[in-house]
Amino acid sequence: MHYSTSGLESARRHVGDEVRVVIESDSDIVLAREHGRLIGKKLGFSATDLTLIATAISEVARNILVFAKNGEIVIREINEHGRTGIQIMAKDNGPGIPDIALAMQEGYSTGKGLGMGLPGSRRLMDEFQVISSVADGTIVEMKKWVNKNG
Protein backbone atom coordinates (compact mmCIF):
# COMPACT_ATOMS: atom_id res chain seq x y z
CA MET A 1 0.00 0.00 0.00
CA HIS A 2 1.39 3.37 -0.94
CA TYR A 3 0.13 6.89 -0.58
CA SER A 4 1.65 8.76 -3.45
CA THR A 5 1.34 12.46 -3.86
CA SER A 6 1.70 12.54 -7.62
CA GLY A 7 1.20 10.50 -10.75
CA LEU A 8 -2.30 9.40 -9.89
CA GLU A 9 -3.72 10.00 -13.32
CA SER A 10 -0.67 8.86 -15.21
CA ALA A 11 -1.10 8.01 -18.89
CA ARG A 12 -3.26 4.95 -19.06
CA ARG A 13 -5.56 3.45 -21.60
CA HIS A 14 -9.20 3.85 -20.67
CA VAL A 15 -11.71 1.76 -22.54
CA GLY A 16 -15.43 1.45 -22.23
CA ASP A 17 -17.91 3.16 -20.00
CA GLU A 18 -17.23 5.98 -17.63
CA VAL A 19 -19.86 7.20 -15.26
CA ARG A 20 -19.73 10.35 -13.17
CA VAL A 21 -22.05 10.71 -10.23
CA VAL A 22 -22.27 14.04 -8.46
CA ILE A 23 -22.42 13.49 -4.71
CA GLU A 24 -24.36 16.13 -2.83
CA SER A 25 -27.04 14.21 -0.92
CA ASP A 26 -27.36 10.80 0.68
CA SER A 27 -29.45 9.44 -2.20
CA ASP A 28 -26.49 10.10 -4.53
CA ILE A 29 -24.54 7.51 -2.51
CA VAL A 30 -27.13 4.88 -3.47
CA LEU A 31 -26.96 6.00 -7.10
CA ALA A 32 -23.15 5.80 -7.16
CA ARG A 33 -23.07 2.26 -5.81
CA GLU A 34 -25.76 1.16 -8.27
CA HIS A 35 -23.61 2.45 -11.14
CA GLY A 36 -20.62 0.63 -9.67
CA ARG A 37 -22.59 -2.60 -9.63
CA LEU A 38 -23.80 -2.11 -13.22
CA ILE A 39 -20.34 -1.44 -14.64
CA GLY A 40 -18.78 -4.17 -12.50
CA LYS A 41 -21.34 -6.69 -13.66
CA LYS A 42 -20.63 -5.85 -17.29
CA LEU A 43 -16.92 -6.42 -16.64
CA GLY A 44 -17.62 -9.89 -15.26
CA PHE A 45 -17.07 -9.47 -11.50
CA SER A 46 -18.54 -12.15 -9.22
CA ALA A 47 -21.57 -11.42 -7.04
CA THR A 48 -19.32 -11.18 -3.98
CA ASP A 49 -16.92 -8.78 -5.70
CA LEU A 50 -19.85 -6.62 -6.87
CA THR A 51 -20.99 -6.30 -3.25
CA LEU A 52 -17.46 -5.43 -2.10
CA ILE A 53 -17.20 -2.78 -4.84
CA ALA A 54 -20.63 -1.31 -4.01
CA THR A 55 -19.76 -1.22 -0.31
CA ALA A 56 -16.42 0.51 -0.95
CA ILE A 57 -18.17 3.09 -3.16
CA SER A 58 -20.68 3.68 -0.38
CA GLU A 59 -17.91 4.39 2.13
CA VAL A 60 -15.91 6.80 -0.02
CA ALA A 61 -19.06 8.57 -1.24
CA ARG A 62 -20.17 9.09 2.33
CA ASN A 63 -16.74 10.48 3.18
CA ILE A 64 -17.31 13.10 0.47
CA LEU A 65 -20.69 14.03 1.91
CA VAL A 66 -19.54 14.15 5.53
CA PHE A 67 -16.22 15.95 5.08
CA ALA A 68 -16.58 18.00 1.88
CA LYS A 69 -20.39 18.34 1.51
CA ASN A 70 -20.11 17.63 -2.22
CA GLY A 71 -17.88 16.09 -4.85
CA GLU A 72 -18.08 13.35 -7.43
CA ILE A 73 -17.51 9.66 -7.97
CA VAL A 74 -16.07 8.59 -11.31
CA ILE A 75 -16.36 4.91 -12.18
CA ARG A 76 -14.71 3.37 -15.21
CA GLU A 77 -13.36 0.27 -16.82
CA ILE A 78 -9.58 0.01 -16.93
CA ASN A 79 -7.28 -2.25 -18.92
CA GLU A 80 -3.69 -2.61 -17.84
CA HIS A 81 -1.12 -5.32 -18.66
CA GLY A 82 -3.82 -7.52 -20.15
CA ARG A 83 -6.01 -7.25 -17.07
CA THR A 84 -9.48 -5.76 -16.86
CA GLY A 85 -10.69 -3.96 -13.82
CA ILE A 86 -12.81 -1.22 -12.37
CA GLN A 87 -11.47 2.10 -11.19
CA ILE A 88 -13.33 4.30 -8.76
CA MET A 89 -12.25 7.84 -8.10
CA ALA A 90 -13.82 9.89 -5.32
CA LYS A 91 -13.00 13.58 -5.71
CA ASP A 92 -13.89 16.56 -3.62
CA ASN A 93 -12.74 20.10 -3.00
CA GLY A 94 -13.33 19.88 0.70
CA PRO A 95 -10.99 20.65 3.58
CA GLY A 96 -8.55 17.86 2.65
CA ILE A 97 -7.01 15.32 4.98
CA PRO A 98 -4.11 16.92 6.89
CA ASP A 99 -2.63 13.57 7.92
CA ILE A 100 -3.40 10.73 5.50
CA ALA A 101 -1.45 8.10 7.44
CA LEU A 102 -3.52 8.94 10.50
CA ALA A 103 -6.81 8.82 8.55
CA MET A 104 -5.83 5.39 7.21
CA GLN A 105 -5.33 4.06 10.71
CA GLU A 106 -7.79 1.46 11.85
CA GLY A 107 -10.28 2.96 14.27
CA TYR A 108 -9.15 6.53 13.73
CA SER A 109 -12.19 8.74 13.50
CA THR A 110 -12.97 12.40 13.58
CA GLY A 111 -16.11 11.41 15.43
CA LYS A 112 -18.39 11.49 12.41
CA GLY A 113 -18.04 7.83 11.51
CA LEU A 114 -16.86 4.53 12.83
CA GLY A 115 -13.28 5.17 11.86
CA MET A 116 -13.33 2.49 9.22
CA GLY A 117 -14.36 4.34 6.09
CA LEU A 118 -10.94 4.62 4.46
CA PRO A 119 -9.05 1.66 5.99
CA GLY A 120 -12.15 -0.51 5.48
CA SER A 121 -12.58 0.43 1.82
CA ARG A 122 -8.91 -0.35 1.27
CA ARG A 123 -9.49 -3.92 2.39
CA LEU A 124 -12.43 -4.32 0.01
CA MET A 125 -10.44 -3.33 -3.07
CA ASP A 126 -7.15 -4.49 -4.68
CA GLU A 127 -5.49 -1.10 -4.97
CA PHE A 128 -6.06 2.05 -3.00
CA GLN A 129 -4.48 5.49 -3.00
CA VAL A 130 -5.34 8.74 -1.28
CA ILE A 131 -4.13 12.11 -2.46
CA SER A 132 -5.13 14.99 -0.31
CA SER A 133 -4.05 18.47 0.42
CA VAL A 134 -5.63 21.05 2.62
CA ALA A 135 -5.61 23.41 -0.37
CA ASP A 136 -7.07 21.16 -3.09
CA GLY A 137 -9.27 18.64 -1.37
CA THR A 138 -9.10 14.89 -1.63
CA ILE A 139 -8.95 12.23 -4.33
CA VAL A 140 -9.38 8.61 -3.38
CA GLU A 141 -8.54 6.17 -6.17
CA MET A 142 -9.50 2.51 -5.82
CA LYS A 143 -9.15 -0.40 -8.25
CA LYS A 144 -10.29 -3.95 -8.35
CA TRP A 145 -9.30 -6.51 -10.99
CA VAL A 146 -11.48 -9.17 -12.54
CA ASN A 147 -10.27 -12.75 -11.88
CA LYS A 148 -7.04 -11.62 -10.31
CA ASN A 149 -6.30 -15.22 -9.30
CA GLY A 150 -7.77 -16.76 -12.44
Binding site: D26, S27, I29, T48, A54, T55, G117
Partner: protein, 125 residues
Protein backbone atom coordinates in the same frame (compact mmCIF):
# COMPACT_ATOMS: atom_id res chain seq x y z
CA UNK B 1 -38.02 4.51 -0.25
CA UNK B 2 -39.95 4.04 2.97
CA UNK B 3 -39.78 0.71 4.78
CA UNK B 4 -43.20 -0.83 5.48
CA UNK B 5 -43.73 -1.93 9.08
CA UNK B 6 -46.20 -4.73 9.62
CA UNK B 7 -47.82 -5.29 13.01
CA UNK B 8 -48.27 -8.96 13.70
CA UNK B 9 -49.47 -9.96 17.16
CA UNK B 10 -46.98 -8.59 19.65
CA UNK B 11 -44.32 -8.06 17.03
CA UNK B 12 -43.38 -5.44 14.47
CA UNK B 13 -41.89 -6.69 11.22
CA UNK B 14 -39.97 -4.19 9.09
CA UNK B 15 -39.11 -5.56 5.67
CA UNK B 16 -36.52 -3.58 3.76
CA UNK B 17 -37.45 -3.88 0.09
CA UNK B 18 -34.80 -1.95 -1.79
CA UNK B 19 -31.56 -0.05 -1.32
CA UNK B 20 -31.97 2.55 1.41
CA UNK B 21 -30.55 6.02 1.68
CA UNK B 22 -29.24 7.25 5.02
CA UNK B 23 -32.40 9.33 5.46
CA UNK B 24 -34.60 6.24 4.89
CA UNK B 25 -32.69 4.36 7.59
CA UNK B 26 -33.13 7.17 10.07
CA UNK B 27 -36.87 7.27 9.24
CA UNK B 28 -37.08 3.54 9.91
CA UNK B 29 -35.33 4.04 13.24
CA UNK B 30 -37.74 6.76 14.34
CA UNK B 31 -40.81 4.84 13.18
CA UNK B 32 -39.81 1.64 14.99
CA UNK B 33 -38.92 3.33 18.26
CA UNK B 34 -42.26 5.15 18.20
CA UNK B 35 -44.40 2.17 17.19
CA UNK B 36 -42.91 -0.16 19.80
CA UNK B 37 -44.50 2.11 22.40
CA UNK B 38 -47.71 2.74 20.47
CA UNK B 39 -48.47 -0.97 19.96
CA UNK B 40 -46.74 -2.16 23.13
CA UNK B 41 -44.74 -4.57 20.99
CA UNK B 42 -42.55 -7.21 22.60
CA UNK B 43 -40.33 -7.76 19.61
CA UNK B 44 -39.10 -6.26 16.37
CA UNK B 45 -37.80 -8.05 13.29
CA UNK B 46 -35.83 -6.16 10.67
CA UNK B 47 -35.64 -8.21 7.49
CA UNK B 48 -32.65 -7.06 5.42
CA UNK B 49 -32.83 -9.83 2.79
CA UNK B 50 -33.21 -7.27 -0.02
CA UNK B 51 -30.37 -5.06 1.22
CA UNK B 52 -27.41 -5.40 -1.15
CA UNK B 53 -25.01 -3.20 0.83
CA UNK B 54 -24.49 -2.87 4.57
CA UNK B 55 -21.89 -0.17 4.94
CA UNK B 56 -20.67 1.45 8.15
CA UNK B 57 -23.63 3.84 8.33
CA UNK B 58 -26.28 1.12 7.83
CA UNK B 59 -24.59 -1.14 10.37
CA UNK B 60 -24.30 1.63 12.93
CA UNK B 61 -27.95 2.62 12.43
CA UNK B 62 -29.21 -0.97 12.78
CA UNK B 63 -27.14 -1.30 15.94
CA UNK B 64 -28.63 1.92 17.30
CA UNK B 65 -32.15 0.76 16.45
CA UNK B 66 -31.64 -2.52 18.33
CA UNK B 67 -30.28 -0.67 21.38
CA UNK B 68 -33.13 1.86 21.38
CA UNK B 69 -35.72 -0.91 21.04
CA UNK B 70 -34.09 -2.67 23.98
CA UNK B 71 -34.35 0.51 26.04
CA UNK B 72 -38.04 0.57 25.13
CA UNK B 73 -38.39 -2.91 26.61
CA UNK B 74 -38.55 -5.05 23.48
CA UNK B 75 -36.25 -7.42 21.59
CA UNK B 76 -34.86 -6.94 18.08
CA UNK B 77 -33.78 -9.61 15.61
CA UNK B 78 -32.08 -8.73 12.33
CA UNK B 79 -32.63 -11.39 9.72
CA UNK B 80 -31.67 -12.14 6.14
CA UNK B 81 -28.13 -10.76 5.88
CA UNK B 82 -27.00 -12.13 2.49
CA UNK B 83 -23.76 -14.13 2.23
CA UNK B 84 -21.97 -11.52 0.07
CA UNK B 85 -23.12 -8.76 2.42
CA UNK B 86 -21.82 -10.72 5.42
CA UNK B 87 -18.51 -11.16 3.61
CA UNK B 88 -18.22 -7.45 2.85
CA UNK B 89 -19.12 -6.52 6.45
CA UNK B 90 -16.39 -8.76 7.86
CA UNK B 91 -13.84 -7.36 5.38
CA UNK B 92 -14.87 -3.87 6.36
CA UNK B 93 -14.52 -4.71 10.05
CA UNK B 94 -18.20 -4.16 10.86
CA UNK B 95 -19.90 -6.16 13.60
CA UNK B 96 -23.38 -6.45 15.05
CA UNK B 97 -22.08 -7.53 18.44
CA UNK B 98 -24.77 -7.96 21.05
CA UNK B 99 -27.50 -7.89 18.37
CA UNK B 100 -29.58 -10.99 17.66
CA UNK B 101 -29.48 -12.20 14.07
CA UNK B 102 -31.27 -14.98 12.22
CA UNK B 103 -30.96 -16.63 8.82
CA UNK B 104 -34.40 -15.62 7.58
CA UNK B 105 -37.81 -14.37 8.72
CA UNK B 106 -38.92 -17.82 9.90
CA UNK B 107 -35.85 -18.28 12.09
CA UNK B 108 -36.19 -14.69 13.26
CA UNK B 109 -39.75 -15.26 14.45
CA UNK B 110 -38.72 -18.48 16.21
CA UNK B 111 -35.91 -16.64 17.98
CA UNK B 112 -38.23 -13.82 19.06
CA UNK B 113 -40.79 -16.32 20.38
CA UNK B 114 -38.07 -17.98 22.44
CA UNK B 115 -36.75 -14.66 23.74
CA UNK B 116 -40.13 -13.29 24.74
CA UNK B 117 -41.11 -16.58 26.45
CA UNK B 118 -37.90 -16.44 28.48
CA UNK B 119 -38.63 -12.84 29.38
CA UNK B 120 -42.18 -13.63 30.52
CA UNK B 121 -40.92 -16.60 32.54
CA UNK B 122 -38.32 -14.42 34.25
CA UNK B 123 -41.01 -11.86 35.12
CA UNK B 124 -43.33 -14.53 36.52
CA UNK B 125 -40.78 -15.66 39.02
Amino acid sequence: MEVPILKQGGYLIATIQAALSDADLIKLQDALVEQVGKYRSKGVIIDVTALDVMDSFATRTLRSIAHMIKLRGAETVICGIQPEVAFAMVQLGLTLEGISTALDLEEGLALLNKRTREREAARGR
